[in-house]
Symmetry: C2
Subunit: 221 residues, 2 copies
């Protein structure tokens, strides 16, 4: 038992150093990396597909699909004509900085402007590992419930932006946006929240505007 904790701490300390290296390297090359995190089935891939369609004429986009197994999402994204690499974590529940570094090297980033890392569907472990992204974006979907910030606080604390997906199903589920925002802001007072629907496109204008501004800031800073 204790050994798990110790190993974890050591790895996390190393991880932060590796993450900082990744971030510096990406900054130098003006590549904007987004660490996209969510529960299983929150709509990471669907959100990604619509997002790529919205920006791919202006930026050279690449996607790193992290999965415990399967290539389902890589296939979906590949059809958009963007660069994509499928990462299999071999059972591991998150991506860390070292894995991300190796994945970026393997994929190659000399010909890309924006990289989306679709992390493993998990609200717990990915929150603990900085991968060196420019921005951490998390998706919470309406059917999961508005109390999730109480139950998975770290994810909400470390993220830069919260997308509330499947907002078109709000009427069906007992999801109180205001209550959710209160929980979120108790943990992360500056967290920007954008409700959207990857299915209908509602809210995407605001999300894409946020993303474009973040990319430009990263490149010009």
């Amino acid at each position: 038992m204790y050994e798990i904790y110790e190993t974890k701490e050591r790895i996390t300390a190393d991880n932060d150093k590796e993450a900082a290296k990744n971030r510096a390297n990406l900054k130098e090359k003006k590549v904007f990396l987004v660490n996209l995190m969510a529960s299983p089935g929150a709509g990471k891939t669907t959100t990604l597909v619509r997002t790529i369609k919205a920006i791919k004429d202006d930026y050279r986009v690449a996607v790193m699909e992290a999965d415990v197994d399967s290539d389902v999402d890589a296939e979906t994204v590949h059809q958009l004509g963007v660069k994509v690499i499928q990462l299999h974590t071999g059972g591991l529940c998150h991506m860390d900085a070292d894995m991300t570094q190796r994945a970026l090297a393997k994929m190659g980033i000399d010909d890309v402007d924006v990289v989306f890392l679709e992390n493993i569907g998990n609200l717990v472990c990915p929150a603990e590992f900085d991968v060196g992204a420019a921005k951490k974006v998390m998706i919470l979907s309406v059917p999961e419930g508005d109390d999730k910030p109480l139950k998975y606080p770290l994810m909400f604390q470390v993220s830069d932006l919260l997308l509330i997906n499947k907002i078109d199903t709000k009427a069906i589920f007992d999801f109180d946006e205001e209550r959710c925002a209160q929980y979120v802001h108790q943990l992360n007072p500056d967290m920007k929240i954008i409700p959207l629907s990857a299915r209908t496109g509602e809210g995407f204008e605001e999300w894409i505007a946020w993303l474009r501004a973040a990319i430009e800031e990263w490149r010009n800073d």
Copy 2:
């Protein structure tokens, strides 16, 4: 990196021994432990509440609520008048056999027949740790999508029963029950699947019948 894997394996080996001990002890005391696993927001607590109401006149029920943080679910369950203990894993993404053993001892099981362990909302890590339960029950909810067996195979491999929750929202989401069942049975040919809705009560008759039969088999075997 490599150290993580090694440590994990060693711990898992120890974990299996501890899990076997738990199972033998529970068997001797005729206490039926259910390890209930699902994604965040799949409806574990809502399903549990309706389940407890259905069986609490016949069995002395207790609940162990595992959370990274917060007592939300324990409060909800406590209102049903059953024994409940809140477990905080302190950031850990799953319950293991040792933690379960200590939690059972702390709560006391001399006055209970059935214990539900509501595991951390996570489809990856809890699947790797046998806690010594009589049955592993997993919940997949319709909004998560029918492709989840492809993406989180281990959870579907190790579980004894799959409850497909929020089945009342099937028409809204593109959820194909037949396709989901095919994916599941490729991983776990004997897996029993019961679609239900913890909100409307649809499907509960079948689930409660399965549960009662499993409890009786455990006690009389």
